[in-house]
């Protein structure tokens, strides 16, 4: 409750909690797709305010967690080359590769730098013409337009010493993979608000129809989440499916058109491997052929990568909601934020980190 109190919105939160309690008559499993939402739910204690009949299943929307292990190993190998300035958002730096992470590579002498924006990497490249600047371009649809713009700007400005190491992933194909699994337990979804601010929500409508599930586009503050949960449960109780928009203050059905246009110029969809989950058809973006020379994977040959996951880590089952973090035997013992076995324990969007930080381990 603490953070909801601090949000000075306790009365309103309670109103939604009461409405939820008055609505629910049977067991329901909802998935919040986005790891940022998972953290808010756990941090604000919303998971503990809901009726016992409602289970929140934490989804795969943690970009850091689903970035393939081979790519992290490759990032580290590239970062270690003397001509490279390797740039990344802060949350990738501590994600464990097979043997080490980017932050450790930095402490061993690699030039690894945190950047605020991918355009800052392009600027760094301009300022360091005798070096090669690589940006680690991972993320969901929210981050794809900034990364597309960095590549576009580098091309326009002729910044040839800039490239990206990329592994973009997309939400709708992952939702379809979950829904079509024979083990699927999820009956309704909270869709990630900022992904939809870019993409809109039209692409969720056929999914809602095909699998007969309610999908509610939801924001990130505790009240947004409570309202999104209420809307999803109400639809379920009334036997309705379809897409609703809780986050209308930021999201329109068509999404952000200029952003989609530039993404379409720079990226194309491709099959993509998700760490812990496996390959999902047409679930990622790669650079189009005409931007191939900005692909760091092609520019820097670091040889064959043989990635090795920590055998005890059950991140894959956690990312698809089959298990909760505390059901892992390594949780809180062998695996902690300071020495993680898997990515969900270090990421600000990882479910394991949320459970560890906010005492859901018992």
């Amino acid at each position: 409750m603490r953070y909801v109190d601090e949000y000075r919105a306790e009365a309103e939160a309670q109103k939604f909690v009461q409405a939820i309690k008055g609505t629910v008559t049977r067991e329901w499993n909802l998935m919040e797709v986005c790891g940022g939402q998972t953290h808010t739910l756990i941090k604000s204690g919303i998971d503990r305010m809901l009726p016992e009949l409602v289970t929140l299943v934490h989804g795969p929307g943690c970009p850091v967690c689903v970035t393939p292990l081979e790519l992290i190993d490759r990032a580290i190998a590239i970062a270690r080359r003397p001509e490279i300035i390797f740039t990344s958002f802060g949350d990738m730096l501590r994600v464990p590769g097979s043997k080490t992470d980017l932050l450790s590579a930095k402490s061993e002498g690699a030039d690894v730098r945190m950047v605020y924006s991918p355009l800052d990497s392009v600027k760094l490249a301009e300022q360091n013409p005798d070096r090669q600047v690589v940006f680690f371009a991972v993320g969901f649809e929210t981050t794809a337009p900034p990364n597309a713009m960095a590549v576009h700007a580098a091309q326009q400005q002729g910044v040839d010493n800039f490239s990206i190491l990329t592994s973009h992933v997309l939400v709708p194909p992952a939702m379809e993979t979950l829904l079509s699994s024979p083990d699927n337990q999820v009956q309704g979804f909270l869709a990630a608000g900022h992904v939809c601010a870019i993409m809109g929500y039209w692409e969720y409508e056929p999914i809602a129809e095909k699998y007969q599930v309610p999908i509610v586009v939801t924001g990130f503050e505790p009240l947004d989440l409570l309202q999104g949960i209420f809307m999803t449960l109400k639809a379920l109780e009334e036997g309705r499916w379809g897409v609703e928009n809780q986050y209308a203050r930021l999201v329109v059905r068509e999404g952000n058109q200029p952003a989609q246009k530039l993404m379409g110029q720079v990226f194309e969809t491709c099959d993509r491997k998700w760490r812990g989950i496996g390959e999902i058809p047409m679930s990622g973006y790669r650079l189009k052929d005409e931007f191939e020379h900005f692909d760091a994977e092609k520019r820097f040959d670091v040889g064959a990568i043989e990635a090795q996951e920590a055998p005890e880590c059950i991140a894959g089952e956690i990312l698809v909601g089959m298990k909760k973090p505390h059901e892992c035997t390594a949780f809180g013992t062998k695996c902690k934020p300071e020495h993680p076995l898997g990515a969900p324990m270090v990421s600000a969007e990882g479910a394991c980190a949320a459970y560890f930080q906010y005492g859901r381990g018992e």
């Binding site: 953070y3 300022q127 930021l250």
Partner: protein, 93 residues
């Protein structure tokens, strides 16, 4: 990584290749932000910014509410990451 932080546009300018950039204040911390994806934004407007890109306009009252919330829960560390222009400015000043 999908965090969106609201801020106030205090300056806009076109870069040499025609891309609209701007300076956005997040409770006093000023960042250089790309405004290309919010073409109708003007100085004084509030925007939600993701990794240095405005992705949407937001009304002022809502912007303050969300910013205070993010501040309270300690989700604004990304604003501490320096930008390549920052040191130049300090050198100039």
């Amino acid at each position: 990584m999908c965090l969106g932080v609201p801020g106030k546009v205090i300056e806009t300018q076109e870069d040499p290749l025609g891309m609209t950039m701007g300076r956005v204040s997040f409770g006093g911390i000023v960042k250089e932000v790309c405004l290309a994806y919010t073409p109708d934004v003007e100085v004084g407007d509030f925007v939600v910014v993701h990794v240095g890109f405005a992705i949407s306009k937001i009304d002022e009252e809502e912007a303050h509410k969300v910013f205070e919330y993010l501040q309270e829960i300690g989700e604004l560390q990304e604003l501490d990451v320096p930008q390549p222009g920052d040191t130049e400015q300090e050198a100039d000043g």
